[in-house]
Structures are given as C-alpha cells and as structure tokens.
C-alpha cells in the first residue's frame, strides 16, 4: 500500500481561547477528490489557512509525501505544489488577468526584468487548457465572479507542479454551467494524480463527484469515509450533531388564512397590479394575503430582485400600482415604504444576526431606531415601551433591557430576533435570498423566524434560488422569467421540476 499524499496529524489551533481546530487527523490520497464539509465555524477554512501557511498551527503536523511541511507563507506553499482557490476570488481588480495569474512569480528575461510577452502567452495557454475564452489582457474588474474563479484556477495550475489543490467553496457563486465546467477541470486534475480537498456547502453536488468525505464539527474531526457509503441525511446529521428530521423533512402546515374564502383581493396585505419598470420587468401582478409566504423563484438576473426593489421604492416604476392593505400607495422612496410597512431584507443582511456586545434592547431596536427617532434623536421612551411589549408578547426571559444579548439562551435570542423585525411594525416582508451561503443550522433558524413572522399575520415575499427552500417554505410560488411573471403554483402542485421548467423556459410547466 502506498503512503497517502497528505497526512494531517493531530492539528489544533485556537484563536483567543476559542478552539478553531481540535486534534484533527485525516489523510488525503494521491489522485483523490476529498470532500471536506461542516457548518460555518467548523474549522474548514482554518485548516486550509494552516496548510497554505497563512496561519501557523498550535500543535500537530502536516506531512506531504511523507515529509513534514510548515510553510511560512502561501508563496512557499505554491513552490511546493500546494495551492488554494477561495470562495470569494482573492484577486487584484485593477490589474489584468495575466498579472493576477503571475503576481509575485512573474517570469523574468535574462536581463532580470519581467517577460511580459511570455507572461501573456503562458496565461493564454493555461486559459485554453481550462477551456476559458478569456483575454489575458482583460482587467479582472470587468469579469463576473464565475470568470474570476477561472482566473484563480489559472493561477493555481499554470506551472503544473501541483500536488495538492485546496478548493474552499469554489462553486458558491457559480452558475450551473460554470459549476459543471469547474467539476470537469477538477476531474482532469484528479486524473493527473493531483489530490484535491474540496470544501462545499452544497452537499448534493458531492455525490458522484467526491471519492471520500471528511466531516468536521466545532473544530473536531467527526468521520472520514467513502462517499459511496454515505447518505445525504447522514452527512447533515454528522455536521449538526443532531437528527436532521427537523431541518429537512419538516413542512409547514397549510396556512389557515390562505383559504379561498379569505382570498378576496381586498384582504390582500400587498397587491401589485401591472407593475412595470422599463428595461427591468413588465406587467407584474400578484397579491399576498396575511399570514402567507409567497416564494419567488427564477434564474438569477430574471428580475426578481428588481421587482422587490421596485415595491420597496428603491428603483423607479414606469407603470402600474401598488396597494398595501387595500390602500393604494404612491411609491416615493424606501423611507416612505418603510413608513407604509414594507420591509426589504437584502441578501447580505443577516436575518438571524444579533450583535453580541449590545444589549437586548439595542439589538431589538436596531433596525427601527431611525423610524422611532424624534428629530434625529433616539426616542428612549418609545423604545422602552416596545421592549416591554415584545418581552411580554414573546415571553423573553432576560434580566432587563440592558442585559447583554450574549447572556441569553438560544431560544430567547430567537425571540429577540423576531421582536427586532416586528418592532418595525411591518405589514409586508420581502426577503431576498435569505439563506444564501449559510450553513444548515443557521438556515433552519432563519426559516423559523420567517415562519414565525408569517404567523403574526404578515405577508411574506421570499426570493430564493434554492428550490428545496422554496418548496419547503412557500404557500404559493411565483416564477419570474426574463422580467415577466410566467407561472404560479400552489404548494401541493409545485415540484422542483415544474418550477425549474418555468424558470428556464418561461413556459408554465403545469
């Protein structure tokens, strides 16, 4: 039996007393695609940083082909064939592709200056090998995230001495096409005998792709096993350390308010009629009833975010009308729409997020401070009222408004999150990709908050590219294609297939 390419032996690392990695050991074979999964904070990225020399390990050792390695910086790691590609491309936007590929290791002429011609030619070659039709002289700033990922790959692969490639969630922001292409490249590298450590949050994509899988939880190694012996539910269970039934199989009970009797347009909390924004979307009409979660599916770029932003007053409307609780609203700007009770939560906003150093009251009132303010000053009296109202309504157990949020139990924190959004006295909530890029555990928390908000008889519009999420959460599903509302499904008639068909073709797949 041959020795594994990489042996990770009892690696530990802590930051300020908190263990990021605890005694982690596993190994990676040559020519293997080795998946590494775990929730956010499980220690995956820390491990990558230790291997590439960005961080030193506190204890333990890493062996490459039987030799212990301890790189002082990623530059030395790369010289020894250990390379990393990260989720957010770490590139230089003002420089061109070739410079990004060769930064720090530019080829030199005999005179000792940079050989720019050779640099562009080599970049061209490696881009061709990757099958990316990119101009080596194009500035990185003009590329899409997916294209930047290929630049990262070009950088990692151009001198073909690679032994170990570390991929830290490379597919997180890629289109399906680009993902497929990336997989293809990784498979070709595998055939070349390169070892690949592949970190991903998309567990589905690992099946039929990875050879083995290692799961980390809270910095500790849980298990390493053959991918073919592994079931999806098992992975999630190992990741979160508890049964997953409450995370994946739970379906929302049918919404009582959504019965046909109540579905009279006058009762709708939000009604949109023939809404058009030139060049973005046109003739969009729909209603949302109290207590209803309406999912909005569609491809990225189909116009979902634009529709949401138009309702929120952030982009101008050229035609159509918006009614809130059966009252027509003339949309001016977001400040006015917040006043009307519309809350838009963009993708990068942490829905479940609380600030540990702030008090319970401050956390609760964070989004609504401006709304409550009197002539620009914080309205403490009104804030105290709101605090006591929600403390009572949701039975939050705290020692008082000044108590630090970090002292609360998990369940009580959840209630503070809920109060935080309710304090804005909303009628309609629009969530744009509420769980993009977060781990399974936090995802379930976000879902709970959204469902609880619906239970408070609010109308919820949830934009999501995650079809299982759409199916799990929505009472009704709208599909947007190329700026048009092309399909509407009730929850019992919706399937991944018919939603995807509508999103891809624009034809109602019923």
């Amino acid at each position: 039996m041959t020795e594994p390419r990489v042996q990770i032996r009892n690696v530990s690392k802590s930051f300020g007393g908190i263990d990021a990695l605890k005694d982690v050991s596993f190994d990676i074979k040559a020519g293997e695609i080795h998946a590494l999964v775990g929730e956010n904070g499980a220690g995956k990225s820390t491990l990558v940083k230790i291997i590439t020399g960005l961080e030193p390990a506190d204890r333990g050792s890493i062996l490459l082909d039987g030799m212990e390695i301890r790189f002082p910086s990623p530059m030395e790691a790369r010289a020894n064939g250990v390379l990393a590609v990260y989720q957010d491309p770490k590139l230089f936007p003002n420089l061109d592709i070739a410079e990004n590929v060769f930064m720090g290791i530019h080829p030199k002429t005999r005179a000792g200056i940079i050989d720019r011609k050779l640099m562009y030619r080599k970049t061209r070659e490696v881009l061709d090998w990757l099958g990316a039709d990119l101009d080596p002289k194009a500035l990185v700033v003009s590329l899409s995230t997916g294209q930047m990922q290929f630049v990262e790959f070009a950088r990692a692969l151009f001198d073909s001495n690679e032994k170990l490639l570390l991929l830290d969630e490379p597919t997180a922001s890629l289109s399906p096409n680009e993902t497929e292409k990336l997989f293809e490249i990784v498979r070709r590298l595998k055939d070349r005998g390169v070892s690949i450590l592949f970190i991903s949050h998309r567990i589905e994509e690992l099946f039929g792709f990875a050879d083995r899988i290692t799961i980390l939880r809270d910095g500790a190694h849980v298990i390493t096993q053959e991918m073919s012996d592994t079931a999806q539910s098992q992975i999630v269970q190992y990741m979160v350390g508890r049964s997953i039934s409450d995370l994946y199989s739970e379906n929302r009970s049918a919404n009582p308010e959504g019965t046909t009797a109540a579905r009279n347009k006058e009762n709708a909390v939000l009604r949109v009629e023939h809404l058009t924004s030139k060049g973005e979307f046109s003739d969009v009409s729909f209603e949302i009833y109290p207590g209803e979660i309406v999912g909005m599916a569609g491809l990225v770029g189909a116009g979902r975010t634009e529709i949401a932003k138009a309702i929120f007053g952030a982009i101008p409307i050229s035609e159509g009308s918006v009614w809130i609780s059966n009252k027509q609203v003339k949309i001016k700007d977001p400040a006015q729409m917040i006043e009307e009770g519309v809350v838009y939560v963009p993708e990068d906003r942490e829905i479940e997020g609380l600030i540990a150093d702030l008090s319970v009251s401050d956390n609760m009132l964070l989004p609504s401070v401006v709304k409550l303010a009197l002539a620009g000053f914080v309205n403490t009296k009104e804030e105290a009222k709101i605090f006591s109202r929600y403390t009572k309504q949701f039975q939050i157990k705290s020692s008082g408004p000044k108590m630090k949020i970090s002292g609360l139990s998990g369940g009580n924190r959840q209630k503070v999150v809920l109060s935080k959004w309710m304090a804005m006295s909303p009628k309609v909530f629009i969530f744009d990709e509420p769980t993009h890029g977060i781990d399974a555990g936090s995802k379930a928390q976000v879902h709970k908050v959204i469902q609880e908000l619906a239970r408070q008889a609010l109308g919820i519009l949830m934009i999501s590219s995650d079809l299982p999420e759409i199916l799990k959460m929505s009472d009704r599903i709208l599909v947007v294609y190329d700026g048009l509302l092309v399909a509407e499904f009730w929850r019992d008639e919706a399937t991944q297939e018919n939603i995807m068909a509508a999103a891809l073709t624009g034809k109602n797949g019923k």
Partner: protein
C-alpha cells in the same frame, strides 16, 4: 464529453468593455487630452504663451514637481499617502547645502547627503505605516511637522544664500550635458523612465500595484505587504531628497520654511495625472503629466494676469475635478463588479 466541453466554453468569455474600465486602463490619454485643451485655451488667451521660450520655461518649472509627483505616486499606488514630502525636502535641502557650504572642497559626493536624509525620513514614515499599521495620513502629517521642526532647529535662524553654493551645484542643474537639454530636464526624464520601468517590469513594482489594488488578496497571495510598502516610502524619500537638492540648487536660497505647502501641489499633480487616490492604478508618467498640467495652468494664468488668489482657487478646482472623475470611475467599476456578481448565476 468533448461535445459538452465546447458547449460550456461559450459561457466563460470576456465581457464587453465598459467606459469606466476603458478609462481605468487609459487614464494617461485623458490627462494628455486635458493638457492639450488648456494649452489651446491659453494660446488663444495669451499671445506670449505659445512661444518656444515660454514652453521651455513651463517644462523646466515642471521638472522638479514631476520628480516629486513620481515619488508620491509610488506611495499612493500602494493605497497610502505621504504628506510630509515638502518638509522632508526642506530638511534634505537645508542640511545638504549646509554641508556643501561647510565643506566646499568635498565636491559632488555631497549630493548623496540630501538623498540619504530623504531615505532616512522615508524609512521612519514607512516603518511606522507598514509595521505599526497606523493610518499613513496621520503618520506623515506628524512627519510634516517633525521634519519641519528639525530644519528650523538645525538652522538656528541662519539661511543658505547664493554665495554659499559651490559652482558644481549650480552647474549640475543649469548646465547642459547634452546640447539643447538642460541637466535638470535630463535628470527628470531619466528618473521617470527608471521608475516607470521599475514599476512595470519588476516583480516588486507589480506588487506595489497589487497591494494597492487589494491588500487582502495580497496577503492571500503570500506577498510581503509590509516590506513592499516600506520600500515604496524609502523610494519616495530618496527621490524627495534628490528633488530637495535640485530645487535648492535652482532657487539658490534655502530657508527653514523652504517649499512650505508644496505637498498640496505634489498630491494634486498625482491625482490630476490619473493615479487613483485609492491605490492600485495609474502610473508615474501620468503623475509627471499632472505636474506639467499644474505648471501649465500656473504659467498660463500668470500670463493672462490672473490674481494669485484666483490661481489657487482654480488649482483647487482642477484637483477636486480629478478626484470626482476618479471617484465616479471607481463607483462605476464597483457597480460593474456587483452586477457581474449577480449575473454569476447560482443553481
């Protein structure tokens, strides 16, 4: 599978050029255009403007500012600032010329003194900024006061006068090694060419851009960020020291408040020359052109008979306009970055 691959190839290709990206790549052409524009205006407004002798004056006046702008640009490209250049220059010039006065027989080797002083000042600035992780504006603002303070104390009320200056010093600037070109112009051009080559054709030169473009990525690449920033400050100091020598030799008087306020013109020239105030883009040729633009404005406005105050005001307008253009380009660019992220579809 081969078939599939070729299908996919079409999805990864260079997108269309946006105007802001074009400007980002071709800033120098914009500066050149602006220079031609103001030259046209001045030659219509003032008869004496478009004469060979006047253009020569503009060029010579721009030389020292161009070297300083080139020095400052190196630092600004790393996403840092050096506002202490004028004080550094005065310190280097005063001490250097004091030694020239005291040791009249030492000869041209004394040109190394102001350069060495510049290097020491650059080291101090650079070490604190790069290793102390202190905001460069504050560090060099302190340097501005401290270096000026040191000259004042050192001078003890004295000043350097024309009679104190050795013949070789004046020759080095006003003389002419190549017929038709003054030495000052030759020195400026040589420095520009050397620094340009350094920035474009050496690894460290490219890293100077990389660090200014994305310091975070530079760390992930394993670049030695602190060391490169320190190097940029030292280079800036050395060139500033040399400029101190040239400036003093040209003006023949050195007083403790020598070149006071010059840092504004230097930074102005860099910005007008299309070097981004946020680092990572622009080049020293642009910065030097920026120096020529400011000098042309100065000269033209004097010929028209504009009052000093108005001249200052128009300077300010030029610098602010350049900053606004820079900001709007960057805004467009970051918007492009964002929208490209959105188009990078998921699932």
């Amino acid at each position: 599978m081969a078939n599939k691959m070729s299908d996919l190839t079409t999805t990864v290709q260079t997108p269309k050029r946006h105007w802001s990206v074009v400007i980002l790549k071709n800033r120098v052409i914009g500066v050149l255009f602006f220079e031609v524009l103001i030259m046209t205006i001045f030659s219509i407004a003032a008869k004496k403007f478009l004469t060979l002798s006047n253009l020569n004056t503009i060029f010579l006046n721009a030389c020292i500012l161009a070297i300083l702008a080139c020095a400052e640009a190196v630092v600004i490209i790393t996403r840092n600032y050096d506002v202490s250049v004028a004080s550094m220059l005065a310190l280097a010039a005063f001490v250097g010329f004091d030694l020239i006065k005291k040791y009249p027989n030492a000869g041209p080797v004394l040109i190394l003194v102001p350069i060495a002083i510049g290097i020491i000042c650059g080291l101090v600035n650079g070490v604190i900024v790069a290793y102390g992780r202190v905001s460069s504006v504050f560090v060099t603002l302190a340097g501005l006061s401290i270096y000026r303070g040191i000259v004042t104390v050192y001078a003890r009320g004295h000043q350097i006068e024309p009679k104190d200056i050795a013949e070789w010093v004046r020759d080095s600037v006003t003389g002419s090694m190549l017929p038709g070109f003054s030495n000052l112009a030759i020195i400026a051009i040589v420095i520009l060419v050397l620094v340009s080559i350094y920035l474009r054709y050496t690894r460290i030169g490219r890293q100077i851009y990389a660090i200014g473009s994305n310091p975070d990525a530079a760390t992930f690449y394993g670049l030695k960020v602190s060391r490169v920033i320190l190097g940029a400050y030292v280079l800036c100091g050395a060139l500033t020291g040399l400029s101190g020598f040239l400036f003093a030799a040209r003006s023949s008087y050195v007083v403790p408040w020598f070149a006071q306020g010059l840092e504004m013109q230097v930074i102005g020239a860099v910005v007008v020359g299309g070097v981004s105030v946020l680092g990572g883009s622009g080049n020293v040729v642009g910065a030097a052109l920026g120096a020529i633009v400011l000098t042309t404005m100065d000269n033209g406005l004097i010929l028209i008979g504009t009052h000093e105050v108005i001249r200052q005001l128009l300077y300010g307008v030029a610098i602010v306009s350049a900053c606004i253009l820079d900001a709007s380009v960057l805004k467009q660019v970051s918007r492009l970055l964002k929208s490209s992220k959105r188009l990078g579809a998921r699932r």
